[in-house]
């Protein structure tokens, strides 16, 4: 009951919780600036920073598979390891971190990999392996992670019963302002475990008087004061115990325990009247924890000690009604736990929420009477089970989306194939090859002609159309002049012949002086022609390739689509089956917790009924003459 909740094992949970602060994000990216060298990695970071971890994981897996992050291999591996961890894929995470270490990366990456490996092993309960991993960590981690390492190590040592080592380590951490309160608290716990109550109490006393304004330290302070208060009650020192109970915050999570303890401290001093005040206050509170139920019995007990027997009988009767009502509520909750539809609806709703959502009793359906489930909802097993169910529900929805898309891809591929088959004759690639060869022959003729012109110095061959027309006209005039030479006046003939030579000479001069430009232009055109022929040749080859590759592509993609379709079906079935198994496991956890609470209630009920019978017996004996 009350004091079982105050055990060191539960106090240790606090240190363990500190480790969970370092989430997947902090695994690598919080403490340094990353210069994106691969677009794909930047795209992954974009999703990662928005906490879209599933999308980030998918993109990361794709990028690694397709070699799109050549400049961020190490970053990608560390990130993937962290993401695997956040999805509970410990084996995968361990493989990724192990490979990073084996590959011999830089000291910081190595330290981060060892740190994450230690965390994986710690979570899996492999304590010796976790310690070995911690021992490999150098001095390169950022401060926050160094603190986590220190707390993880002390927890491991304490779990292995090596209190001396744990105490030595914790004492070193007392100077670390960030974790000194937590270290001191754990030091107190370790000393208690080592049967060194005096020093343990001293350490808890310092924590209990902490002036910190941090909410987690305030909770720790309450916890320390509660532990000390009950320890002093056990040592029969109610005066000092009261002082510690009075330090506990009225609105804090430990206020109920403090009120109960305060009442008992007064009762121990036979000050039952004083004891009644905290007990009555506690008994009027919402029935959420055992301290409140215990207060119902304590009130009745206090009244009995004050010899207010009638009121005491009434208090026991009220307590019996309350316990029975609560038992009925638990019975209803036990029936509701088996309602599969309720759970499915709950997980479906939560797949829409942040994957890192921290579960609380407020998230559970009313029918489950979540107020009885505080302890289990705070447990790691419950969180893991809920997370697995949420992940599986999400993955199932994801597979259903693909299952819906697969027929569309099959149709798309079929359409592409039929379009290709229809167009294939039109492509006439063979015909294209012949035409290209003819073009190439023609180009070769041009090249040969150009070579001949250069070799023969045949500048007229490079005349423009206009010049060629002028040359033709001059040649016709020349022929006419020759045929008319016998009939013409020699002087006139010579005059025309000179003119012909002049014009012909002028034309040849024009062509001759620009021959280099003309040759350059023609060579340029030939080069352009070569390039175009090359492009055409490339396209022809691509078409030829496509002619043979496309059908194989259709076939390959078709086979892939069919295979993935079947895989979706298989994995969907597996998801449903393992989801049910996990749900059953969770239901068992809840049932077990409800049964435990019910058993406690039954014990309270027995106590109340026994005390009531005793009082009624006494009353009836007094009435007898």
């Amino acid at each position: 009951m009350l004091l079982k909740k105050m055990t060191v094992r539960h106090l240790l949970v606090l240190s363990v919780l500190m480790l969970t602060v370092t989430s997947a994000q902090a695994a690598f990216f919080e403490d340094r600036e990353i210069v994106v060298k691969d677009l794909a990695f930047g795209e992954i970071l974009y999703e990662f920073y928005q906490k879209n971890y599933f999308t980030a994981t998918t993109k990361l897996l794709i990028a690694r598979e397709l070699g799109r992050v050549p400049n961020h291999k190490k970053d990608a591996d560390l990130m993937l390891g962290g993401l695997y961890l956040s999805y509970g894929l410990h084996l995968e995470a361990e493989a990724v971190f192990g490979k990073l270490i084996a590959d011999g990366t830089d000291p910081l990456t190595q330290d981060k990999a060892w740190f994450n490996l230690a965390k994986v092993r710690y979570q899996k309960g492999q304590h010796d392996d976790a310690i070995r991993a911690i021992e490999e960590i150098g001095d390169n981690l950022p401060v926050e992670q160094k603190n986590d390492v220190s707390m993880m190590m002390t927890n491991l040592l304490m779990q292995k019963g090596q209190y001396d080592d744990a105490i030595a380590l914790l004492k070193k951490s007392l100077d670390n302002k960030e974790i000194s309160e937590f270290a001191r608290f754990n030091l107190g716990v370790a000393l208690f475990k080592q049967d060194n109550q005096i020093e343990g109490a001293e350490q808890l006393d310092i924590v209990g008087h902490s002036k910190s304004a941090k909410s987690d330290v305030k909770a720790l302070r309450d916890k320390a004061n509660i532990a000390l208060g009950y320890a002093l009650l056990a040592a029969e020192d109610p005066v000092k115990a009261k002082a510690y109970f009075q330090l506990v915050r009225v609105n804090g999570p430990f206020s109920n325990k403090a009120l109960l303890g305060l009442g008992w401290a007064n009762a121990m001093q036979k000050e039952y009247q004083k004891a009644m005040a905290p007990w009555i206050e506690l008994s009027r509170k919402k029935k959420t924890e055992s301290a409140v139920y215990e207060s119902l019995l304590a009130v009745a007990y206090g009244l009995e000690q004050l010899q207010a027997y009638r009121q005491s009988i009434q208090a026991y009767q009220d307590a019996i009604i309350t316990f029975k009502t609560e038992e009925d509520s638990i019975d209803n909750a036990l029936a509701a736990v088996r309602d599969n539809a309720m759970w499915d609806q709950l997980f479906f709703v939560f797949t829409q929420k942040d994957a890192q959502h921290e579960w609380s009793t407020a998230d559970l359906p009313v029918a489950l009477e979540a107020r009885f489930l505080n302890r289990i909802v705070a447990s790691n097993e419950f969180h893991e089970a809920m997370k697995n169910l949420r992940d599986m529900s999400f993955l199932h929805q994801n597979l259903q989306k693909w299952a819906h898309d697969i027929p569309a891809y099959q149709d798309m591929l079929a359409l592409r194939k039929s379009t290709y088959e229809k167009r294939l004759p039109e492509l006439a690639t063979d015909q294209g090859v012949y035409r290209l060869a003819a073009f190439r022959d023609e180009r070769n003729l041009y090249r040969e002609e150009m070579d001949r012109i250069v070799r023969d110095g045949d500048i007229i061959a490079l005349a423009t159309d206009k010049e060629r027309d002028q040359i033709d006209r001059l040649e016709k005039l020349k022929l006419k002049l020759r045929s008319a030479s016998t009939r013409m006046d020699p002087g006139k003939y010579n005059q025309f012949a000179d003119k012909y030579r002049l014009y012909r000479g002028l034309l040849e001069w024009d062509i001759g002086t620009t021959i280099k430009t003309r040759q350059w232009n023609i060579n340029k055109s030939l080069r352009m022609l070569d390039r175009e022929l090359q492009k055409t040749d490339y396209r022809q080859k691509e078409l030829q390739r496509a002619k043979y590759v496309a059908p194989r592509g259709f076939e390959g993609h078709g086979q892939q689509i069919d295979y993935y379709g079947k895989r979706i079906e298989e994995l969907s079935k597996d998801l449903v089956s393992i989801y049910d198994e996990q749900k059953e496991d969770l239901q068992l956890q809840v049932v077990s917790e409800l049964v435990t609470v019910r058993n406690s209630l039954t014990e309270y009920l027995d106590q109340a009924q026994f005390a009531l019978a005793r009082l009624q017996d006494l009353a009836s004996q007094e009435k007898q003459p």
Binding site: K4, Y46, F48, Q50, K51, E92, F192, L399, L571, Q607
Partner: protein
Amino acid sequence: MKSIKQLFWVLVVGLVMAPVVMSAGTDKEPQGRAVSLDDKVQKLKKEVMQLNRDLFILEEELLFPSNTQVAVFLSIDVGNYFRLDSVQLKVDDKVVANHLYTKQEADALTRGGVQRLYLGNIKKGQRELVAVFRGPGPNKREYKRATKHVFEKGSGPKYIELKITDVTRKLQPEFVVKEWE
């Protein structure tokens, strides 16, 4: 049966003893079952994630073959002089993407994330890309800037990055376009 006071004292005395007792019992039995189930869940999650990866790769191959694939990315370097609210992307005067940024998205960009703004199919040849950025600029005034980029789409995939950087000298944002291999 124990009295209420006795019951309480049994518990109180258990305070110091409890750590020892509780540390000895670490819920071994339920863990055994959970481990086996956990292994199954892990294996299944891994398989589904791998299938998801393969399906995305197939989808990209089918929907965006490399010879027509064009992807436009957006990144922000520093971002002191401009806070991105929205962007519109046009290729050859046709709007291909519009995006309004949430705070989370803008933060992710500022921290170094790169958004894939557009993934589509574009034929070979010379293409013109215009991006219009909107948001509060220097002095928190509404700011609208367009940037144009002409690119040659060849036979391989084309990756273009739109980068918003700060020009400290001018106290102005700058919009840079970079083509990636």
